[in-house]
Symmetry: C2
Subunit: 426 residues, 2 copies
């Protein structure tokens, strides 16, 4: 699984590193994985000689890939699992580092609060930035140069001149908006634990948590403005509004809403999927994709986000506090009826009154848990997640043919993410 | 005072109303106010005849004004007080109405919360939008057509094609950001009263107040993005960050900070003046002004904002709860040492320990009040406000010559605002 991506990475490095043009040749052995590497190897060697020292950067990976695809790379990579996280690991590290630098402020308390969830080890799974960089590469006509693996040190208010840097900013901005919403949600829910750490509000108090959230939104807006693309600015501003709408939908639901799976899915779109959908579309737009393709990027993010949340709902029943980094049965204890409960209520109508009183009477949480386990609720919620994961994968498959082998590999990784989201245990 | 602006308004209407070209003539009597109206009246009549029915809209007010200025309008208006609020009243009404419409959401609780401070009668003084529309006109080469007095009903995410509409959006966005910051500040300060109404957090609860603030920020971002001017987007995103920074500076000050007037002024810039400075500059940029002029617009907003806040500090001592729409001595009771106290502490060093313990011991508030009144604190705070008001007026005077008489009138109004800010009682 890792070999495929390692070859790809070493090949990219080799062909682009200005000081090592001959590494393009040494990368040759990697090509042995191809069904018949002989002609490819000769081709690579020939190209290296032709381009020589001066034009070494002209020897792009896509020369090799374009030659390789008709000769069997396509069948080699298509359908083979790839590790999406290791594929963009280095670039994600530099995006994370830039993020830490870009939320710098001279005010110590604000700095500590804003950094809290971005410190090494506290960043969470970084699913969103990983997905976004893979989406960028999936639709690209070139393989990102190793130059883009370094930390972008231009100030947040300066327009990045390279497309890849602009796409990295979307990954950064998305994380800022995501964490800002976590901070405000945790104040609202009086949360105590998040990502296995004490929730920020319980460390710094509600006031600082509110302000740190506002601060991250403000910094995100400044970065966003620098991208100078009003469609993109609007997509991500819409996310902030959707996050608020989702939280309010959750807080203000009527009895009928509380029992409705449709309402629940709608709320989940706003709270979780909108960020993934709109940021994914933003990356496609910045990559110069036409409307139909950026729409597919949106669909991918939307379905992945929904699948992610439905799995989260299941894990709240099946996971342990230690695994989850937050208390198990947290949803029930917070009064929330998620997909497994709503399905279970179809089999056990007595669950309805528990849902309506938000599991507040003594024994409600335990009874609800038991009724969910005594029903097909968990299985049906898993099925719903699987359905959306499949739709996400389908969106990737519906994209126009990949131009480079690297793009193909990244699409495979995006598909792989959909399986990983289903299989995750935390 | 009102006559000058009434003439101006009727003249604008007359010259632009397509159905009443002859009203341009009837407006003639208004010209009688000019030192020697004879030549002007003939000129106006001549222009009307020349342009005829078909070209009646060609007869712009600036034709008249440009002819009028050298003939004495300049001396008529310059230095004469104008009522800034009545000068843009109609346009402000339509901006307010648009604002109410643009924060519409299908979610009832969110709608009620977001609308709370924008309802008729609850909008406050609307100093910011008034200042911004006057700034726009001050720098304009044309007089805004009455078309722009109607409510702009294009959606927030659509780019307004006319410059004046884009400038109106800044007024709208500024009010949204301002109210969003009030909502979050009131949660943070546990405020109970605002603008003579119960604070939103005390009506809807902290959670809804946080979310309504986020919602307004998100809507403001969407509107801002539609302006498609990254400098402008950045100026107003910076405001959000400054508002947060100001609040944090206030919350996290050291003993040395608490006693420092410089620190206090810095905090005040962030909390109050940045919004006025940056929005004023944004209006100038959207009006196509060069850097030096937009910088003067920034200076005007900055000094006006500082003057406004220092007067506010004084009113907290000298005003009554009824006048202010919030409790008198609110700052002391909240633990805040504002300009009058910091000045008074220079005369009465015993105030320092009260400042450091944030007036929390019994009798502190009363003792501090007495020491302030027994000092030159209030007068010196007033002087500081007057100094900044003068600098604001000076920024307007430093602008390149006004192109139309209307622009001149609006500059006079901007200067008048600086006096009104000093004289205000609430």
């Amino acid at each position: 699984m890792r070999r495929a991506s390692n070859i790809s990475r070493s090949l990219i490095r080799a062909c682009f590193a200005p000081q090592f043009p001959e590494e393009a040749l040494r990368a040759g052995p990697g090509l042995l994985l191809a069904p018949d590497p002989g002609p490819l190897l000769s081709l690579a060697q020939g190209l290296c000689r032709e381009n020589g020292q001066q034009q070494r950067r002209e020897l792009t990976v896509s020369h090799l890939y374009n030659a390789a695809i008709p000769q069997g790379w396509d069948s080699l990579y298509r359908g083979q699992p790839v590790d999406p996280f290791s594929l963009v690991k280095e670039e994600i590290e530099s995006v994370s580092e830039r993020l830490r630098r870009s939320i710098f402020t001279g005010i110590p308390t604000l700095r500590s609060a804003a950094e809290y969830f971005f410190k090494l080890g506290a960043e969470g799974k970084r699913l969103r930035p990983t997905m976004l960089l893979l989406m960028a590469s999936s639709l690209s006509t070139y393989v990102p140069s190793p130059d883009f693996l370094t930390v972008d040190d231009s100030p947040p208010n300066v327009h990045p001149s390279e497309e890849r840097r602009r796409q990295q900013r979307i990954a950064e901005i998305t994380e800022m908006i995501h964490v800002a919403s976590l901070l405000h949600d945790d104040v609202i829910d009086n949360a105590e634990v998040r990502r296995g750490l004490r929730a920020l509000n319980s460390v710094f108090g509600n006031k600082i948590a509110i302000l740190a959230g506002d601060f991250l939104l403000a910094r995100a807006s400044v970065s966003l403005a620098a991208l100078r693309n009003s469609d993109v600015i609007q997509l991500l501003s819409q996310v902030i509004e959707d996050l608020v709408t989702g939280e309010i939908l959750q807080m203000t639901s009527t009895d009928q809403d509380l029992l409705s799976l449709d309402y629940y899915v709608r709320k989940t779109f706003h709270k979780t999927a909108s960020l993934m959908a709109n940021s994914s579309k933003a990356v496609a737009i910045l990559g110069g994709q036409p409307k139909d393709v950026s729409e597919l990027a949106w669909q991918y993010g939307r379905h992945l986000g929904l699948a992610f949340q439905f799995v989260d709902d299941v894990l709240d029943f099946t996971g342990s506090t230690l695994q989850l980094g937050k208390p198990a049965l947290n949803d029930l204890r917070s009064g929330l009826a998620t997909a497994p409960v709503l399905y279970a209520a179809e089999e056990h109508p007595q669950l309805r009154s528990l849902i309506l009183r938000k599991f507040k009477s003594e024994g409600d949480v335990e009874l609800a848990q038991q009724l969910v386990f005594d029903s097909r609720g968990i299985q049906r919620a898993r099925d719903l997640a699987a359905e959306h994961a499949a739709l996400a994968a389908q969106a990737v498959q519906s994209m126009p043919p990949a131009v480079t082998e690297h793009a193909l590999l990244c699409r495979q990784a995006l598909t792989d993410i959909t399986s990983r989201v289903l299989a995750r245990k935390k």
